[in-house]
Amino acid sequence: MGTKIVSKTFLNPNKTVFEMVVEAPLVAKKAKGGNFVILRIDETGERIPLTVADYDKEKGTITMVIMAVGKSTTQISKLEPGDEILDFIGPLGNKAHIKKFEHPVVFVGGGVGIAPCYPQAKEMKEEGNHVIAILSARTKNLLFWEDKFREFCDEVFITTDDGSLGMKGFGVDKLKQLMLEKPLSQVIAIGPMIMMKFVALLTNGKKDLPLIPTIVSLNTLMVDGTGMCGGCRFQTMHGETKFACVDGPDVDGHDVDFDNLLKRNTRFVRVEKIRLEKYNEECRAINKFCEEKEIEG
């Protein structure tokens, strides 16, 4: 008995980023912004951690936004509504720390990291905060969910690296502007490791800018997601070892040794590349086989 896929929607024309909604009532009941889930597609699949992008307690569903980068995520992108995922585990990790702040709360979402900002931003709004969202992507086509954020956020800003939508530049640039304009209580940055690193450097109070408490969401490599393997570990600035799955995934951005984490995330890069090529090759072969059959028949 697997977990049923309710819907799948591609968010960009290249079909590399997609939103997937699954039926998981018990998980949905407990899930909050900040939590993540682990799924395993089939018997030979690996355990893939994904941050919760939305939950609907009434419908009993969980939404995830996934970018097809490796073999397994490419494989998920090919599943259709009605298909089942063999294993679905969650909610894992800690929920976001939601409370009422004096000044605005700013979310900086980069790429697929835009999605996990969504439930947290909504919870922050429900708590009565002034919520600002900076949504950034490489280019227009990779920017999604602007309308969903506009529904409830007090301010929404868009940045793209190439200027094809909104301000030309990075999310960090927009954040810097805001920091110069007004006092901010909290920054939550979710996106590529390098983006989170620069946000944390901007808000750490060590330059001529004010210190703003900053939360980042760590998407390290994981196996179990429950603290039993240590594969997800990261170093704090104090040289302490912590586990992203149980101490996070949301952690104090000023206390993360990003340089080490950037290196740790290259652990399987080479193997993964070879594997993806092999998988794509297989898919092409199957497609070709099917096409030929069709021509004949």
Binding site: V27, K30, R47, G90, V223, G225, T226, M228, T241, V246
Partner: protein
């Protein structure tokens, strides 16, 4: 009284050849044939004082089951064992017999004589049953409908402790549900102990038998996250057994543990055993090492080292800070590791892990040790020899230096009393000292121990849960 014949030599266990097996994941020890089992059973002197039984944590009726083997009543022998040990196929393979039953065996006390191969006989009987299963009559088989009015008990954690407790309670007529965090049940038996030592099929068969007895299993259920004990109470569960093991990995506090290529034995073994990273059909990846260093000297270290060999490492070194005499691993595993070509570096302690520019391990620094006076554990304490450091080139480092209690569930369970190492405090009945409907056993109570002691604890807790529920309902 007829004089008993003393046969000093043990019937040898057939093995896969060391050179071949070091490159495959198939079982190392092949098991006795019927002939071998009968020959070994004949060695037992049927001692009146049953010395061996005293060495067994669950007091298996050893001379009695051996006598039944001699009568070729293998089913009878199995039933005899199962009176106290519900997982004989597993225990026959992984129990440290040399420090338990076989250590006390009278035959082993005689000059030049070896103890009876009790574990091997236990395994023979259990394996015989797997090939010749008893037919279950339809009336005995579990029937879904009787579910409703039985009392519900929740078992948290599907390792040997949880499985045993579940089996016992199901036999007593309770409606039992196991909640397991992983996608497979079995605990260390499936994620830790490798295939070549304990085939996963055997674990699966034992679990299937539990399901036949009506035990329900909910995998992918991390209790403390998806549901907590309070939720389960609201769902109608009347008693709880916590058997979540001691799954928190320990990393040495030395420079360099953050490097790529440094991992806990838990992660290494989980990737390989549970996720089958050794099989190209499976997607999970595992770090490949040419020169591998494993820190530690227990079963976990042996399993990691032998796994690394099988994954194609050229050189695998076990770095242990005490001497050969002190290694806590099962003797047989140590011997197998030596035969397969694992190098042992005794009296060495790693002091530093050195990385390259890209953040991958390239070497370790180790320090020589000497043994001093015995410490609290009774083992001689290793003492560092200053300025004896040297460097060994390695590209993979596996930490197998122990495990601690995982606080995920225990810290989220209000009022659950823990000891100073975060293990659950229970009374002699296996009942939590602070919450009456919560019972616990296995590694989460004792710290890392053995399969058989976890099973023993599960069995004891089942009896206590029964007593507790009888008093209330």
């Amino acid at each position: 009284m007829p004089k008993v014949e003393i046969i000093k030599e043990r019937t040898p266990m057939p093995h896969q050849d060391a050179k071949i097996r070091a490159h495959n994941f198939e079982e190392v020890a092949l098991g006795f044939t019927e002939e071998m089992a009968l020959a070994e059973a004949k060695r037992c002197m049927q001692c009146k004082n049953r010395a061996c039984v005293k060495g067994c944590p669950v007091e298996v009726a050893i001379p009695e089951f051996i006598a039944l083997i001699l009568e070729k009543d293998y089913r009878g022998a199995l039933k005899k064992i199962k009176e106290t040990n519900v997982l004989p196929a597993i225990c026959g393979r992984v129990c440290p017999q040399e420090t338990q039953c076989e250590q006390y065996c009278t035959l082993g006390k005689i000059k030049d004589s070896k103890p009876v191969g009790i574990g091997r006989l236990e395994r023979f009987v259990a394996d015989w049953d797997l090939v010749n299963p008893e037919e279950i009559s339809p009336e005995d088989a579990y029937c879904e409908d009787v579910d409703d009015d039985r009392l519900k008990v929740a078992i948290i954690g599907g390792g040997p402790a949880g499985l045993t407790c579940a089996g016992e309670l199901a036999n007593l007529g309770y409606s039992v549900t196991i909640f397991e965090a992983f996608h497979k049940t079995g605990g260390v038996l499936v994620y830790g102990i490798p295939e070549f030592r304990l085939p996963k099929d055997i674990v699966k068969k034992e679990i299937d038998k539990l399901k036949e007895c009506g035990v329900k299993i909910e995998v992918n259920s991390v209790i403390g996250q998806i549901l907590d004990i309070e939720d389960l109470r609201k769902m109608g569960f009347k008693a709880f057994f916590i058997g979540v093991g001691a799954g928190l990995p320990v990393f040495l506090k030395i420079p360099g543990t953050e490097l790529n290529g440094v991992l806990s034995a838990n992660e290494y073994l989980t990737r390989v055993n549970l996720m089958k990273a050794y099989d190209p059909e499976y997607d999970t990846m595992v770090d490949q090492g040419k020169n591998v260093a494993v820190f530690g000297g227990g079963n976990v270290a042996m399993d990691s080292a032998r796994t690394a060999l099988r994954l194609g490492a050229e050189k695998v070194m076990i770095i242990y800070r005490r001497s050969e005499k002190e290694i806590p691993a099962r003797r047989e595993e140590y011997e197998h590791a030596v035969e397969e070509g694992v190098e042992f570096h005794f009296l060495r302690n790693p002091t530093k892990i050195i990385g390259d520019d890209e953040g991958f391990v390239k070497a370790i620094e180790v320090l020589k040790m000497e043994l001093g006076e015995p410490d609290a554990s009774g083992r001689r304490r290793p003492i560092a020899q200053p300025r004896t450091e040297y460097i060994i080139d390695v590209d993979l480092c596996i930490m197998a230096i122990g495990a601690k209690a995982n606080p995920l569930l225990t810290k989220k369970t209000k009022n659950l009393k823990l000891n100073k190492w975060d293990y659950i405090e229970v009374n002699e009945k296996g009942q939590s000292v602070s919450i009456p409907d919560v019972f616990a056993g296995g590694d989460i109570v004792t710290g890392s121990a053995t399969v058989i002691s976890a099973m023993g604890a599960g069995k004891k807790a089942a009896a206590s849960i029964h007593e507790y529920l009888l008093n209330i309902y």
